[in-house]
Structure formats: C-alpha cells, structure tokens
C-alpha cells in the first residue's frame, strides 16, 4: 500500500471489498470537496491554477531535495503525486478525456495518502516553476483531503498533536500548571547558570511582548526558552507568557494537514494575546509557528484580533544591534553555520535579521550553499521531525535529510577535526529535531564534534553580563 518501503501513516489494509470500495468512495467525496469553494475556499485558487496549468515540464524536479536526495527516484518527483491528482481531477471532476489514464481504487488512495507525506512542503519546487504552479501545495491539499474527509492523518500530528493541544493546551500534553512548573525550573537553572536573576512573567496584562515558544523546546531544549528569558530580562523588555489554552505553545500542526485544526489553534493564540492587551506577539524559534501565526492566519483574523505579530529574529536583532545586550563575540570562538528554516526564509522572507545577529555574536560564520530563500529544507519540515510511522524515521534521515547533510559537511569541510567544536545554528524546533537525529544517525557529534542549537543560545553565550560557558556542548 506504500509506494516505497516506508510508511508514515501505517494504514490498515482493507479487509473486504466493501472496505476497499469505501476508501475510494470517501476519497472521491473528498476530491469533490477539495475543488468546491464552500469547502475549500482557503486554498482553492492556487490549487486550481496548479492542477489546471502544470505542464509537467519537470523543471521543479531538480529543485526538490527529496527527489535529488533519493537518487532521483520517480515516485519522489514533485509532479508524481500531482499528476495522479491532476488525472483524477480531470476524470472525475471535469470529466475530460485525453488527459492521461488513471484508476481510482483503494490502492491508489492509500498510495496517495503516503505520497502526501513524502514532501516537506518547503515549496522549493514552486519557486522553480515557471508557470507559478505549486506542487508542494498539492501535497498539502491531499493531506487536507485525507484528514478533513477521511480522518486519516499521522498520529503524531493529529491524535497526539493538534487534538492534544486543543484539549490540554500543548501538543506536549503540558497543561498550564505543568508549563509554569517547567518554566520555574528553567528560571532557577538560568539564574544559577548565568548569574542573572530570571523570573518568567505570566499573564501580565498590558505587557509589550507576549512571547510564545514552541513548547517542545521546554522539554527537549530548555536552554532555548531559558536564553530568551535571560535576554529579555537583561534588556529590560516588558514581556509575558500566557497560560491560556494553546497560547503557551506556538506550534500549529494544522498548518501541515488540516485547515480546521489550524484555524482553531491560531484563533485561540491570538485571542489570548487580545485578552492580555499586549502590544505585540513575538514568536519564538519555531519556523512553522512563525508562518502559521504571522502569515497564514492573517486573513482569518477579524480586525479586532489583528494584533502585531513579530519574529523573535527581529526582536533579537534589535536587542543586540542596539547595544541593549552588550556582547563579546570572542566567547563564540568556533565555526558556526546557519540553517534557514524554510518557513522563515522562503515562505516569509526573513533572511537577514538572524544573520545580523549571528555576525554580531560569532566571529566565524560560514554560509551553506545555497542559502536564504534558496535554502534546502532540513528534511524534517511539515511535521516529519516529529513523525516515526512504521519506519518513517529511516526515510527522513536517509532521503529527506541527505541534501542538508551535504550542505552542512561542505560548510565545515575545512574544520572537520574533532578538536574543533562546530555549531549548526537552526532557529527552529522542528529543524533542531531533525539535526539532532541526522547528526546522531551519522555519528557526526561523536566523530567530528558537530553540534546544533538555536540562535538565542549563541546570543546569551556571548553576553558580557552572563557568566562564561552558557553553551555546555553536551549532546542531547
């Protein structure tokens, strides 16, 4: 049922002809809704343009890190799944002949469901398309069809993801009380480690900044939200966190697979900010949360909820370049390369703020090639860094992450000696998760001392007012 030997969804095989027919009937109903304005107003325009005008010239193929990273396997061409959808659209929606053969049966349905999760939605293919077609969007729309019509979605994104966030407040399962406990612990550790007395403020009405972290950071990389607390405290910023449902966890998995879940989470996050009467929302180091809250949610918001949303990249740039956080770049005296999260760079155009900060706090910054809006996805994008499926992790590390690892190794080619610690700066939780797994899988921490982390940690490590040695270089 999977087009390759991997599985993200682990779909059960239908047990009877009725179940088989049920799958294809449900898919067909979903297909009709996908092209119906009432059901899919959110993305109908770009979807129609793509399905009706992609000429299958394959210009996008070479732009795709998954296609090239797989050794150019046909099923990973950006047009492969799109062509199946296009033919189904022509046959069943437009009733046009001569548009290429296709059969709709349960096997096609199950293959499409898996294929929708062989694309990182990084949209590098769309950037290369001379027609303006967007085959990344096709993967997104297929995911939506499966989720919103058939209830099929990776458990990590839906059952254990957005549903948990809407029920408990966070995809991690942390309720507000647990989140506060965790931040108390982080505060204590930061105070001890940096010498700066840190106390994370909660639910402060009228604060300048409502900071929303990816809550995964709290559990996996607590030094990142800790570093933010140190920076904001030291710079005297008026800031707060919110304990409202979903508003202390910036993630919004719906962005990747389900418009309804997306809207529910985004609206709650914004509503929490409105209730607190904060002046702006600042989104922590999480790429998809940036795009979800700052861009995709934008048109959903009534004017009363259209509060300013800002990237933590620009906030950090303002704090560092204005001199409010005096830094000594010499403390970061090791090679650093910057990974551009696709959601920030190609999909939002945020490319320079993080570089301004890096150049101010690190003496040895080397660019990957290509970079900025032409960057390659880390291979963990669109939720893959969270997903393991049956053997999906193998695919993510061996195929989806191959191109990025080539880039990393090229950036550090002149300093691979393990006596030189090296740092991949990835200001995004999802990307960090992928780098953690990639580096571990290839043994690059043990053999070459290639480490990964966020941007805030580098800033705090360079702060003159902080005790030296914030970065501990301990694998996790």
């Amino acid at each position: 049922m999977s087009p390759d030997r991997y599985s993200a969804l682990v779909l059960p095989q239908p047990k009877s002809p009725e179940e088989e027919r049920g799958l294809s009937d449900a898919f067909l109903r979903g297909l009709e809704k996908l092209f119906n304005r009432e059901d899919n107003w959110t993305f109908l325009r770009p979807l129609l343009i793509t399905v009706e005008h992609c000429v299958r010239c394959q210009t996008c193929s070479e732009a795709c890190h998954i296609f090239t990273g797989s050794g150019r396997q046909e099923i990973y061409r950006p047009t492969y799944r799109s062509e199946i959808l296009r033919r189904l659209y022509c046959k069943f929606i437009k009733h046009r002949r001569w548009q290429g053969a296709v059969e709709l049966d349960w096997k096609t349905v199950c293959e499409l469901a898996e294929l929708a999760y062989r694309c990182n939605l990084c949209r590098r293919c769309a950037q290369a398309c001379p027609m303006g077609a967007d085959n990344g969007l096709v993967a997104h729309e297929l995911r939506k069809l499966f989720s919103q019509e058939m209830g099929i979605a990776p458990k990590e994104l839906h059952a254990a993801g957005s549903l948990v966030q809407l029920r408990t407040g966070s995809t991690t399962g942390m309720n507000p009380a647990a989140a506060r406990d965790n931040f108390d612990f982080i505060d204590q550790e930061m105070t001890e480690k940096t010498g700066i007395s840190v106390k994370t403020p909660w639910d402060v009405e009228g604060a300048d900044v409502l900071l929303i972290h990816n809550a995964g950071e709290v559990l996996s990389w607590p030094e990142n939200p800790g570093a933010f607390a140190v920076m904001l405290t030291a710079a005297g910023v008026s800031w707060t966190l919110s304990s409202e449902l979903t508003a202390y966890d910036a993630v919004n998995y719906g962005l990747w697979y389900d418009d309804v879940q997306f809207a529910r989470v985004a609206l709650r996050q914004i509503e929490a900010a409105r209730k607190l009467k904060v002046k702006r929302i600042v989104i922590g180091e999480c790429g998809h949360a940036h795009k979800a809250l700052a861009v995709i949610a934008d048109r959903l918001l009534p004017s009363g909820l259209n509060l300013p949303r800002e990237s933590s990249m620009t906030l950090m740039r303002d704090l560092v370049l204005s001199g409010r956080l005096p830094v000594d770049p010499g403390r970061n005296n090791f090679p650093v390369t910057l990974h551009d999260p696709c959601n920030m760079a190609r999909l939002m155009g945020i490319t320079e703020a993080q570089r301004d900060v890096l150049r101010a706090v690190c003496p040895d910054v080397r660019e990957m090639s290509p970079n900025r809006t032409d960057n390659y996805c880390c291979g963990g994008g669109s939720g893959f860094a969270l997903m393991s499926g049956k053997n999906f992790l193998d695919w993510r590390l061996e195929i989806a992450g191959a191109k990025k690892m080539e880039q990393v190794l090229a950036a550090f080619a002149d300093c691979m000696d393990p006596s030189i610690p090296k740092y991949i700066c990835a200001p995004c939780s999802n990307c960090k998760g992928q780098f953690r797994d990639l580096l571990a899988h290839r043994g690059l921490w043990n053999s070459n001392r290639i480490f990964y982390g966020g941007l805030a940690e580098l800033v705090v490590n360079a702060m003159r007012d902080v005790k030296p040695g914030f970065l501990e270089w301990e694998w996790r």
């Binding site: 979903g30 809704k33 119906n36 009432e38 059901d39 107003w41 959110t42 993305f43 109908l44 325009r45 770009p46 129609l48 343009i49 005008h53 000429v55 299958r56 010239c57 394959q58 210009t59 070479e62 047009t79 033919r87 001569w98 548009q99 290429g100 949209r123 769309a126 290369a128 398309c129 001379p130 027609m131 303006g132 967007d134 989720s147 919103q148 058939m150 059952a159 809407l166 029920r167 449902l245 418009d259 309804v260 809207a263 529910r264 609206l267 709650r268 861009v295 995709i296 949610a297 934008d298 048109r299 959903l300 009534p302 259209n306 760079a345 190609r346 999909l347 939002m348 155009g349 490319t351």
Partner: protein
Amino acid sequence: MLLSCLVYLAGAVFLAGSAFRAVKYARTPVPLRWELYPIPPGSAGQIRYTMAEILLLRGVWQNNRKLWFRTYPFHMGIYLCAAALASLAAGVEWFTEAAALAGLVLLLAGSCALLAARLFAPALKPYTSPSDIFNLGWFVAAAGVPLAAFALEGAGPAAVWRAVFTFRPAPPLAGVGVALAALLAAYIPFTHMAHFVAKYFAYHKVRWDDHRDPAVAAQLQYTPHWSAPHVGADGKKTWADVATANPAMANPAREKKP
C-alpha cells in the same frame, strides 16, 4: 469569405475564452496568504520580473536550461507571429513579412523540439497525455502549413493575412494554414496552454499578495461539508462556527479516536 468569418470568430472566441478564464480565477475565493519569496520589491520590480519572465522565460533559463532551448523558440515564434499580425495595420510590409516568417520558423522548430521531448525524453514521457501530443501536433501543423504555402504557393504571410482580414480569397494551402491558426487560437483559452492568464493570478494574487482582504469575512460564512468527525461540520455550521468550536475540549473521549 468563410475563412475570413472564421478568423474573426476565432479571434473573438480567443478573447472571450481568455476573459472567461480570467474571470473564473478572479471569482475563486480569496485564499489564505501563501507567499513565496523572494518577492520583487515594489511595482517596478514586479514589472521587471514579469517582463523578464514573458520575454526571456527567465525562470526556465535559470532552472531548466535544456527545456529553454526548446521552449524559447516556441514562445518567441508566437510573439513574432502576434507582432506580425499587429503590424499589419501599420502597413510596414517588410516587417510583417520578416516577423511572420521568422516567427513561423521558430514556432515550427520549437514545437517540433517540444513534441520530440514529450515523446522521447524519459522524464517527460510518463507524464505526457494524448492531449499534449495533440496540442503540440497542432502547433507543428499551424506553423508548418503556412511555411509550406510560402514555399509552394509563393503566399507570403503578410499578403495572406491582409487578404483574409479584408475578406479576399487566399491561396488554398495558405488558407488551410490560416484556418489551423485561427482554430488553434480559439482552442487555447480552454486548455492548460492559457497559462498567460493563470500566471497573473499565480504571481499577483497568490505568491506576491500579502494584503488582508475583506472578502474573507464573507467566506467565513460558507458552509463546509467535510465528513471527518473532528471537523464537526453538520451542513449548517459555517466556517466561522467550525473554527471557533473546540470539539477536542468538549468531547475528549471521542476525539482520542479520530
């Protein structure tokens, strides 16, 4: 006489069909923001980008050089033929003739090259539908027949088109060429080849459009019919109702099993 009527009718269908497609896309609901960077700064930057795309096919040049050598002559051939037709009114015979002949040669070369790629290139062949072959074959004929008429009947494109536009007879083979071109023009807006319309919306109304749009408020009153239980659509609730509801909180037991 009939041929002249066909040409005028085909021109009208081309314009109406293109307008219909434009209206169709314009009437699609305003989507959620879905930009793609880099976005050329300002109107001047966007015009420069668009002109480079139209006149030089810059995106293809940058990302698929092999295809550019096939598709650039094809598109330049179309542009030159269109320029030749437009120049008829100016009465500069030599320009019309030269542009038309050059355009037809380029169009024939480009369409043959694209057709060969569609038929034989391993990356393209599996994705080629019968309609692709039909469309490109039509272009080959629409460019090849007028050139054959020029060679065999001595019918220069400028003279032929001037005759057709003024309801005078054209030589037989040249007339076939005109009919093929006219019917092709009428057919294009109803196919994927009308990307000259779609690209405007793809770039200006999706990729480069970061404006808020009041039309979305009305769209939030649309009624979704998605069937998955977590959506909670019942055929009556609007998008706004569905988006502001939280069934996961209201019924956690059910939501554990999507």
